[in-house]
């Protein structure tokens, strides 16, 4: 089974972010980057499928040079090789534009399965996997927690809302977007990290932005507050005492 996993490098979850001078993105020099969480689960699912059925896991990631560290991490965890789509204007491309970049880079691989996380932790469009499926002309399923290979193709467990699930059968080749929590993530071993240095990482240059994006990000801002928050001052003990007063006399739950 040949599996391609599309992964994205995103700002670390707790990164303090500042809006940059263009007003359209964050100050990138401020932040540390990490592998997008649901993409890490997609990688884990791919590695487990390969362990069961043999085959190859190829990771693909689009972004500037710094993306290389996230790709190496995926290789250290066990991916066989990688494709880096070198691209400095990822944030100016909309979901369709990014999916086109990835589709062009992987089409000739003719993979049995394309996996990606259900959405990115930065832009959160939640569309790349679905659009990739449309561009590659393969069926897809989203929010998948478990993948089982069958004679006819795949049987997958899909998460629905409010604690419901559903099984879906689909033929391969196919594309799936993976929800977090289906597996336990592995850590890279020292041996894995060492091996990763010798694995193939092919760099392809992203095609220039030919058409203007359909959805244009005009500017970013701090979100509007939905409630007025009273921040309780003082050290832990003082703040706790004040909060208990509020809970007792204003909220009346003690």
């Amino acid at each position: 089974m040949k599996i391609i996993v599309a992964i994205k490098q995103v700002p670390e979850r707790d990164a303090q972010v500042r809006i940059d001078s263009s007003g359209k993105w964050i100050e990138e020099s401020d932040v540390q980057y990490a592998m997008n969480e649901s993409d890490a689960y997609a990688l884990e699912e791919a590695l487990q499928l390969r362990e069961k059925h043999s085959g190859e896991v190829v990771v693909v990631s689009a972004g500037p040079e710094r993306v290389g560290t996230t790709i190496r991490e995926a290789l250290a965890k066990g991916a066989d090789r990688a494709i880096h789509i070198d691209c400095n204007d990822l944030n100016q491309r909309d979901a369709l534009g990014v999916a086109r970049l990835i589709a062009d880079a992987i089409r000739e691989e003719s993979a049995d399965l394309v996996l990606t996380g259900l959405q990115s932790d930065d832009l959160g469009y939640g569309q790349t996997g679905v659009i990739l499926a449309a561009l590659l002309g393969v069926p897809h399923a989203t929010l998948i927690l478990h993948v089982e290979k069958t004679d006819a193709g795949l049987k997958v467990k899909r998460e629905l809302e409010a604690g419901w699930f559903q099984e879906i059968e689909l033929p391969t080749p196919a594309a799936l977007t993976i929800q977090s929590g289906g597996n336990k993530l592995r850590y890279a071993t020292l041996m894995g990290i060492k091996k990763a240095k010798t694995k193939e990482m092919r760099v392809v240059t992203a095609a220039a932005l030919d058409a203007a994006p359909v959805a244009v990000l005009d500017g970013i801002a701090l979100p509007k507050k939905q409630r007025s928050t009273q921040i309780i001052p003082g050290d832990a003990k003082q703040a706790a005492a004040t909060l208990v007063e509020k809970l007792k006399f204003e909220v009346r739950v003690i």
Partner: protein
């Protein structure tokens, strides 16, 4: 291109609540643009849904009906909606509720028409300018559509208020559209939905909830929040990562994939407040957040906040609650 379309979703035979919120967003767009509003219902048998929609303030209802739409599939819905949009006069905007189902097919539908879904919209301003959250709610991004075809958007649960239904004197016109779908076009075979584990905790009816998130760092640290919950007489809940790690059972998860709650008190400990969590608890009467990061999005919905180390604040709070009782 003219008109605003809103695609409604069915739940247990009725139009779902979030679909009415999508309709409210559609009404806003219709007012801003002076365009007529059309509601779309889909399925194998849509009379009941169409009647519900026709009683709202819409100009028209279209029933997209076909036996192959009896059960939702991405392929079936994509083919049917693409045909409808292309055969009728294409609308300016197509509005969806941002549900798991819409996330499954709307990006593909838009891509087939060289368009992009502007997903998870929380506000619409004149232009129209669509606001959606970035970086897990830390920032807001303002988007404009400049494609040549219809603009596709989906709206976040709870972002648009449903007005009390005005008594419309006469119901809107209902039209039918029968798409041409071949069985071979539907490539996936969906099974019956089923519930995960037996639900033994009903967070929905708990008056007080203490909820714990990633900030707790390790499963071994959970007793400090359990003690706080016990002191308050509250149910313990969690955000997704805690349940993903298996530290608490899935049935204690609050958020889009877990339970939706609106207790008298929701005390969030070490929860940053990603959108998926907020949609499950922002209706709570009083929200208290304890977090070390003053910029955490949880503070946007909190009534009271303590910015500090939960490992110091939570034990102090447990002691103070015990002393006050």
């Amino acid at each position: 291109m003219s008109g605003i379309f809103v695609v409604l979703e069915e739940r247990e035979g009725r139009v779902s609540r979030i679909s009415w919120e999508a309709l409210a967003a559609g009404q806003l767009l219709a007012t801003q643009s002076g365009e007529p509003l059309t509601a779309i219902v889909m399925g194998a048998s849509t009379q009941q849904l169409a009647n519900e929609a026709a009683a709202k303030s819409v100009s028209k209802v279209i029933r997209v009906e076909h036996p192959l739409l009896a059960r939702y599939t991405s392929d079936g819905y994509t083919v049917a909606l693409q045909q409808m949009i292309q055969k009728l006069a294409p609308p300016q905007v197509v509005v969806f509720p941002h549900t798991y189902q819409v996330r499954d097919f709307a990006p593909a539908l838009a891509a087939r028409m060289n368009e992009v879904l502007i997903s998870d919209v929380v506000a619409i301003d004149n232009g129209p300018v669509f606001t959606r959250q970035l970086l897990q709610g830390r920032l807001a991004g303002n988007y404009r559509h400049q494609g040549s075809g219809p603009c596709f958007i989906s709206v976040q649960a709870g972002a648009f208020r449903v007005e009390e239904p005005g008594t419309t004197s006469n119901a809107a016109e209902i039209a039918a559209f029968t798409p041409n779908i071949q069985p071979a076009q539907i490539r996936t075979k969906p099974g019956e939905p089923f519930r995960g584990s037996a639900q033994t905790v009903d967070l929905g009816s708990a008056p007080l909830i203490v909820s714990v998130g990633r900030g707790i760092k390790e499963a071994d640290n959970l007793p400090i929040v359990q003690e706080l919950a016990a002191a308050l007489g509250a149910e313990l809940a969690a955000s997704r990562p805690i349940c993903d790690n298996g530290w608490l059972p899935m049935e204690r998860q609050v958020g889009s994939s877990g339970q939706t709650v609106s207790p008298k008190l929701y005390l969030a400990v070490g929860i940053s407040g990603a959108i998926q969590h907020l949609v499950g608890m922002k209706g709570s009467q009083c929200i208290v957040a304890i977090n070390k990061d003053p910029d955490a999005p949880i503070f946007e919905v909190a009534d009271y906040g303590i910015v500090g180390d939960l490992f110091e604040v939570v034990p102090a709070l447990t002691e103070a609650v015990k002393a006050a009782k």
